[in-house]
């Protein structure tokens, strides 16, 4: 077993560029959540002044957040389907300066192009690992747009400690593991259908 590779926010752009599709990493440092509604809102109104996004990671996640004695407690915080943000992500990366997108299921050609242009990566976290991720994210550091968007779509900030394992599935060099697997499964499909 080799040692865990930990990447830290705010990212060193050179380190992000050095990551290759298929590599496994863990993330330590400040990250923030955003689903489609938060993307749309920030693209319309801009990033709030008190939300740091540059060289950080945006996490596609709508946690279960419950208020206990006036404090927010996160019960579960796994990833949501990233493809929902495909039409928004390239503009959001430009706006926010974030250098990593964390989510599940991968993203499409538009995002892949923009990752290449901006020197950013897409990191896949296993879908449904809500409690594991909640523990790695730790306590809530701040929350934005709670009034406008409600607790699921709001932007939550965390100081993650070794969030992962994360698989680099889209890198800064235009490689997408999702595209590679799709090419394999397409040819497998033809073989299976020929036999059916």
């Amino acid at each position: 077993m080799t040692e865990k590779k930990v990447i830290r926010t705010p990212f060193d752009p050179a380190e992000i560029k050095s990551l290759r599709s298929g590599e496994i990493v863990y993330l330590t440092g400040r990250i923030f959540t955003a689903r489609d509604q938060a993307h749309i809102l920030m693209l319309r109104d801009g990033i709030p002044k008190n939300l740091e996004t540059k060289r950080l990671a945006v996490y596609h996640c709508g946690p279960i957040a419950k208020q206990e004695l006036g404090k927010w407690r996160i019960l579960s915080a796994g990833p949501t389907t990233s493809m929902r943000m495909e039409s928004l992500e390239s503009d959001f990366l430009e706006l926010s300066g974030a250098l990593a997108v964390i989510g599940k299921g991968g993203m499409g050609p538009r995002t892949l192009e923009s990752l290449k242009k901006l020197g950013a990566v897409y990191l896949s976290i296993t879908g449904g690992v809500g409690v594991t991720a909640m523990k790695q994210l730790g306590p809530v550091k701040a929350v934005h747009f709670l009034e406008e968007l409600g607790p699921v779509e709001a932007v939550w900030e965390f100081d993650a400690i070794e969030l992962g394992p994360l698989v680099v599935t889209m890198d800064t060099h235009g490689h997408s593991l999702h595209e590679n697997v799709a090419a394999d499964t397409r040819s497998n499909l033809e073989r299976v259908l020929d036999r059916a």
Binding site: I64, G78, G127, G128, G130, T132, M134, G150, P165, L189
Partner: protein, 293 residues
């Protein structure tokens, strides 16, 4: 509905149901866990193993901490099989939405229902026509309640095909396999594939959803349907989508088919995907209004 004297028997049922709704999102049924474990032993690819390990560790952690396995606690999908002599049906149907609200406001459920037009969250997992209650009348004097919290990521990949009947089973295989290939990692594989064949457009989708209640590894009692389940499962797992869509030999844990007679001019096929996080709790209520077992 006028409440009868016997409805007093149902006192505390709202709390019992809310507790079960909360339990359902915390614990994965043992047969699903076993199936995921054997997938882990079978897989040889590093990434397939990585995801299955993460899934199994998280299931254990969630159980230990009594916290929701997945943050998407889904849309509450409820099946009520009520005996024709079960005396508390009206009361039970009244209590279910209240229990859903309680499990959301004071329990672990994430508020997931939003107005379909405005997107505004109802905050309590209710709203017009929610929760979805599928009612069947069966023999006997008890009621069986199946709770199936169904996540949005996998539900979004549901499908309906009204195939030309001439395409037949061959057409079914083509559509189902192509659909699962295209879906890739989005429904959180390994999935359970529910397929309803026949009936009408609405019936086949209802059958597909209902088929998810059947325990993994239990085939359809009809031999033709069971053979199709086996063949489809084998073919799906040859696609190589794998856990979380990163390659591997486990794309589906099971294919469950339910059927209904079709009009000869139609060939309806409904497909529902269930993510690996297959949460399902069954409760039985006796004629005395108490939870059995």
């Amino acid at each position: 509905m006028k409440s009868s004297k016997s409805d007093a028997d149902m006192l505390g049922m709202k709390e019992e149901l809310a507790k079960a709704l909360g339990e359902a999102v915390v614990r994965i049924p043992p047969n699903v866990r076993v199936s995921l474990q054997s997938a882990f032993s079978r897989e040889t690819s590093q990434l397939a193993k990585l995801h299955l390990r993460a899934i199994l560790d998280n299931i254990e952690l969630a159980g230990d901490e009594a916290l929701p396995v997945c943050e998407d606690t889904g849309i509450q999908t409820i099946f009520v099989d009520a005996g024709r002599n079960f005396p508390h049906l009206g009361e039970l149907l009244r209590i279910i939405p209240e229990a859903v609200e309680l499990a959301t406001l004071s329990g672990p459920l994430r508020p997931n229902t939003v107005n379909p037009l405005t997107g505004k969250n109802y905050g309590n997992n209710l709203g017009p026509n929610a929760p979805a209650i599928n009612l069947s009348i069966v023999d006997g004097d008890t009621a069986t309640i199946h709770l199936l919290p169904k996540g949005g990521g996998s539900e979004q990949l549901s499908a309906l095909w009204m195939l030309p009947p001439a395409d037949g089973i061959k057409g079914l295989k083509r559509e189902v396999l192509s659909h699962i290939q295209k879906a890739g990692g989005r429904p959180c594989p390994p999935v359970i594939v529910g397929i309803g064949i026949g009936g009408s457009a609405d019936t086949c989708l209802k059958l597909a959803k209902r088929s998810l209640l059947r325990p993994l590894g239990t085939p359809n009692p009809d031999e033709d349907a069971a053979a199709l389940e086996r063949e489809l499962l084998e073919s799906i797992n040859k696609l190589g989508v794998g856990p979380m869509g990163m390659g591997g030999s486990t794309t589906a844990l099971a294919v469950n088919i339910e059927t209904a007679p079709r009009h000869p001019a139609t060939f309806p096929i409904g497909l529902v995907m269930q993510c690996w996080c297959h949460r399902h709790v069954t409760l039985r209520i006796g004629s005395d209004g108490r939870v059995k077992d």
